[in-house]
């Protein structure tokens, strides 16, 4: 109904005039005269049309549409300028959005479990095993049986195991979970059923594995496959969206990836032989707070723990435990992104301000023909909205590809990172940011125009407009701000770079170059002595290969056991200190560059069991006393078993040496107490790492090593073949991620600041042409003028840099935990950042200053 009266108006008016003409003719006028009179009588057709239109369309809306169209037109009119502005906005907003996407996925989004807020991670912290968030099976049972504030408690572990389903064996990531896991996670199965309580050796597969290996054939249910040679039955299929969102202890042998097999798991009741180390998660009863639960469970733990173990209960909300390590890093990254965004805003505001100057005459004209000052300002705001709209669209593309790149290149940098996406929350925040940016960059030029005197602008032709000094000040301030931001970002990035360097260069106690590492499972069910023979043969063969300097086996980090000191007071089984046992061979010291601190290392042939301790183990077990010559006893020591003996008698061994601590994985971890035992004196050999020192490129020797293994009749294929160097680098991947992202921000901010300085400097020179011409005419030499110009511009730059340093000083404190061997206020870094920016600013000033110095006085004075 609304359209109809409108659209017929032109015809109606014509008809009206035709009738009036006819009436005039009837009154006796000549046709021409009649027509003219009719038109005259009607009045202004245009204003009639406008008035009718304004009945239906509120005036304001009409004007807004007009402003929008005008804004888009001016964007199109200067394509290069617009491209620069849009690109700058896109980069700033896009990067910020990507970082926020990561932040959101990891820290903000709740876990996928129902009632995730009630889930807590529980551990018993022990001073002699620092940095491990674990509990043992005895503690688990005490907690489960006696806690009143938890309604579910389960334990889990993640392993890499070999699955054999008929075709090729493959390495899979397996989560072993105890019964309550299913109660807590409540998955909707695609097929099959959940394990019954107490059911063992059953597995559920992920949908992806189901499709990939079993062709989505439902007959896989009930089938038996082997995991590390243990038969298990497939009883269910989990949907793709079911994820294991649980904290994962980083271990040396752990390769990140998707968990595709879930296996049921028995938690042993306490016994004398060994302890299971578990990751434990509980769910507090509804209505109970985490603090209350913690207090209650701590009391239980106090009651039930072993007297001398000095362990303390720790309970954290599950999500917090998952992200604890990365929270700091993410905060820092988000802050960096915010700084970059500010730099982008000031840069774009500066650009728009520059353009206003160029268009000030046009603006003045429009104001003077009655557009109204506020209308002109509104139009400026619309322009900035147009830029931000286009920039925002481009930013979306950048954010999406940036996020995809991050996930592809650094999937293991943080837990839950792989699920980062531009979901509703991220988009909403992104839009809010975009609106804020649009306001900011729109207000700047508007501000500068606010008090401009229309007459003056028109009179002076716009170039040396009276508002110029204010505008120049504003632009200088913006440039100063950009420099400050760039300095802050550079300092942060520089600190990260320095600590990264330190991590890579850190002696770490051994020499990772030219070492080839592979893993081997001795799980064929060979009796113990046969395994020893095989290890002997394998090592001999490999050592004989060309290009191999030394070869050794070791079981670092895998095996935890107890040793008693002979002659010391008897320690009850539950309270013995655990040590990491490394079953190894003599070449180990050569391959790893191990330094002997006292005593000797293992010899080629040891007739009776001997051990070598590392410094930490020696200190823990013997304190200040000299351990050399002392005897220790352990159940894991002894002659290799033929058959698995459930109750092996502990055998004694002599301590013959102490070696320096080795740091294997993250170079900033505390070294673990470790003792080294020749493998021929280890009761059972489970899994070995083979390490080979080569004279040339390690990977070049890999094929011949594989061949040597093949000849040795070990049916097990080696896996995780890599150089030790690469394995180490991988373990610091998260830091590399932080580094790369922050460096990108810093470099971008630096470039923006430089462009800004150059632009402002050029602008101010142009403004001052008349003055410079006078100076030249009065005899100032080019060099003098240039020095003066540079000095003036650099004083602003230096002010900006100083402010940036102060800001950096305040902000880098937040980075403390991300740094390694570097303090947050490291003077070298700060000085380097400031110096770099000062030099860059100087270079940016140079060309415009030179141009100013060469201003021809006659030309300048004439161009009025």
């Amino acid at each position: 109904m609304m359209r109809a009266p409108f659209s017929g108006l032109d015809a109606e008016i014509r008809d009206h005039i035709a009738r009036e003409t006819q009436d005039n003719i009837d009154r006796g006028m000549a046709p021409d005269e009649a027509r003219r009179a009719a038109w005259r009588a009607f009045g202004s057709v245009a204003s009639t049309q406008e008035d009718v239109r304004s009945v239906w369309i509120p005036v304001r809306l009409e004007q807004l549409a007009q402003d929008g169209r005008y804004a888009l037109r001016s964007v199109r009119r200067s394509p290069f300028f617009s491209a620069v502005v849009i690109a700058t906005l896109a980069i700033g907003i896009g990067m910020t959005t990507a970082v926020f996407g990561v932040f959101n996925a990891i820290l903000l989004r709740p876990l996928a479990y129902p009632d995730a807020g009630r889930l807590v991670a529980i551990a018993s912290e022990r001073p002699d095993l620092p940095g491990q968030f674990l509990a043992n099976n005895e503690e688990f049972w005490h907690w489960k049986e006696q806690s009143a504030s938890l309604d579910a408690l389960f334990a889990y572990n993640i392993y890499n195991q070999t699955m054999n389903a008929g075709a090729e064996p493959s390495r899979m990531q397996v989560a072993v979970v105890s019964d309550d896991f299913w109660k807590v996670s409540e998955p909707h199965l695609l097929a099959g059923r959940l394990p019954d309580e107490g059911e063992r050796n059953v597995v559920l597969l992920s949908e992806r594995l189901y499709a990939r290996t079993f062709d989505s054939d439902p007959r896989v249910l009930g089938r038996v496959v082997t995991l590390d040679r243990t038969p298990v039955t497939v009883i269910g299929i989990l949907p793709d969206r079911f994820r294991l969102e649980l904290p994962i202890q980083r271990r040396q042998d752990f390769r990140g990836g998707e968990t595709e097999i879930f296996r049921s798991f028995a938690i042993e009741h306490p016994n004398d032989r060994f302890r299971q180390l578990l990751s434990v998660v509980g769910r507090v009863k509804p209505g109970v707070t985490v603090d209350q639960a913690r207090a209650e469970l701590s009391a239980v733990h106090e009651r039930t723990r072993n007297r001398q173990s000095e362990s303390r209960l720790v309970m954290l909300p599950l999500q917090e435990q998952m992200v604890r390590d990365v929270r700091q890093a993410l905060n820092v990254l988000l802050m960096g992104a915010a700084l970059l965004l500010l730099a982008v805003c000031t840069n774009v505001a500066d650009l728009l301000l520059a353009r206003v100057t160029a268009r000030s005459k046009e603006m003045a004209v429009r104001v003077s023909v009655g557009a109204g000052r506020s209308r002109v300002l509104r139009q400026l705001l619309f322009e900035s909205v147009a830029y931000c709209g286009l920039g925002g669209a481009a930013a979306f593309v950048i954010a999406r590809s940036g996020l995809a790149a991050i996930i592809r290149v650094y999937p293991d940098a943080a837990p839950r990172l792989a699920e980062a996406s531009l979901d509703r929350t991220v988009m909403a925040v992104s839009l809010a940011v975009l609106a804020a940016v649009a306001l900011f960059v729109g207000v700047m030029p508007a501000l500068s125009l606010w008090r401009a005197n229309v007459h003056d602008i028109l009179k002076e032709g716009g170039r040396t407009a009276s508002a110029a000094p204010r505008r120049l000040r504003l632009r200088r301030t913006l440039v100063g701000a950009q420099l400050a931001l760039a300095v802050a970002l550079l300092c942060g990035a520089g600190l990260l770079l320095k600590s990264f360097w330190a991590m890579n260069a850190h002696p770490a106690g051994f020499n990772p170059e030219q070492v080839l590492a592979l893993r081997l499972n001795f799980t064929e069910g060979l009796p113990g002595p046969a395994k020893v023979d095989m290890a002997d043969r394998v090592l001999a063969r490999i050592k004989a290969l060309p290009g191999v300097t030394a070869a050794s086996v070791n079981s670092h980090g895998d095996l935890l056991t107890w040793i008693d000191v002979v002659g010391a007071p008897e320690v009850p089984p539950g309270e013995r200190r655990p040590f990491f046992m490394n079953q190894t061979s003599p070449d180990f010291a050569v391959v790893m560059g191990l330094r002997t601190v006292s005593g000797r290392w293992l010899a080629d042939h040891e007739p009776s069991p001997v051990v070598v301790l590392n410094e930490t183990a020696a200190r823990m077990q013997f304190g200040r006393e000299d351990p050399i010559g002392r005897r220790i006893r352990g159940a894991a020591i002894g002659a290799p078993q033929v058959r698995r003996d459930p109750n092996p008698a502990p055998t004694e061994a002599t301590v013959v040496g102490v070696v320096a601590d080795l740091r294997y994985t993250k170079l900033d971890e505390e070294p673990l107490p470790e003792f080294f035992l020749p493998y021929e004196h280890a009761r059972s050999i489970y899994r070995m790492n083979l390490i080979v020192r080569t004279s040339g490129d390690p990977l070049a020797v890999a094929p011949s090593v594989r061949a040597a293994l093949g000849e040795s009749e070990t049916r097990e294929r080696p896996f995780d073949v890599t150089t030790l160097d690469a394995a180490l680098s991988e373990s610091i991947a998260p830091r590399r991620f932080n580094l790369v992202v922050l460096e990108t921000f810093a470099v971008t901010a630096l470039l923006l600041a430089l462009v800004g300085i150059y632009a402002v400097m050029s602008y101010s020179i142009t403004q001052r042409e008349q003055e410079l011409g006078i100076r030249a005419a009065l005899g100032a030499g080019p060099r003098q003028v240039m020095v003066m110009l540079i000095r003036q511009e650099m004083s602003v730059a230096l002010a900006g840099i100083v402010i940036g340093l102060v800001a950096a000083f305040a902000l880098t404190r937040a980075m403390r935990s991300l740094l390694f061997a570097v303090t947050p206020d490291d003077p070298l870094t700060f000085v380097a950042a400031a110096g770099l920016l000062a030099i860059a600013a100087l270079l940016a000033c140079f060309a415009p200053a030179r141009r100013g110095a060469l201003v021809n006085p006659l030309q300048a004075l004439r161009a009025q």
Partner: protein, 114 residues
């Protein structure tokens, strides 16, 4: 409303024009040109509506729902738009008429104190 030549013409307020249009349409639907002629005729040529300003007034009335329009053919078989009073408009005419009479009466009393 009109400028210049016809100083005799009494300036009409916007609302008054609306009222006159409503009154004119009471008897029969008319098209725009005829409304102008009718007002001039009925007021014995004292009120000559500036023709352009008719149309915004008509649209205002349409928007308020007091008149509506339809296509039709005029005497000389031409396609034209005819405007018609709606029931709501009829009611409004009565209200506006009484308001006007009150206003006119009040002004008259002030101008010629009895």
């Amino acid at each position: 409303m009109s400028t210049g030549e016809n100083a005799d013409r009494i300036a009409l307020l916007q609302g008054t024009l609306d009222l006159l249009i409503l009154r004119t349409l009471v008897l029969a639907p008319l098209n725009g040109h005829d409304i102008v002629k009718a007002i001039a005729r009925s007021s014995e040529d004292v009120l000559k509506v500036e023709q352009g300003s008719l149309y915004p007034a008509l649209h205002r009335l349409i928007k308020r729902g007091w008149i509506t329009f339809e296509a039709g053919t005029s005497e000389n078989n031409r396609q034209a738009k005819f405007y018609r009073l709606t029931p709501k408009g009829k009611k409004q005419l009565a209200i506006e008429t009484s308001k006007w009479e009150k206003l006119a009466g009040a002004v008259a009393r002030i101008l010629r104190p009895a």
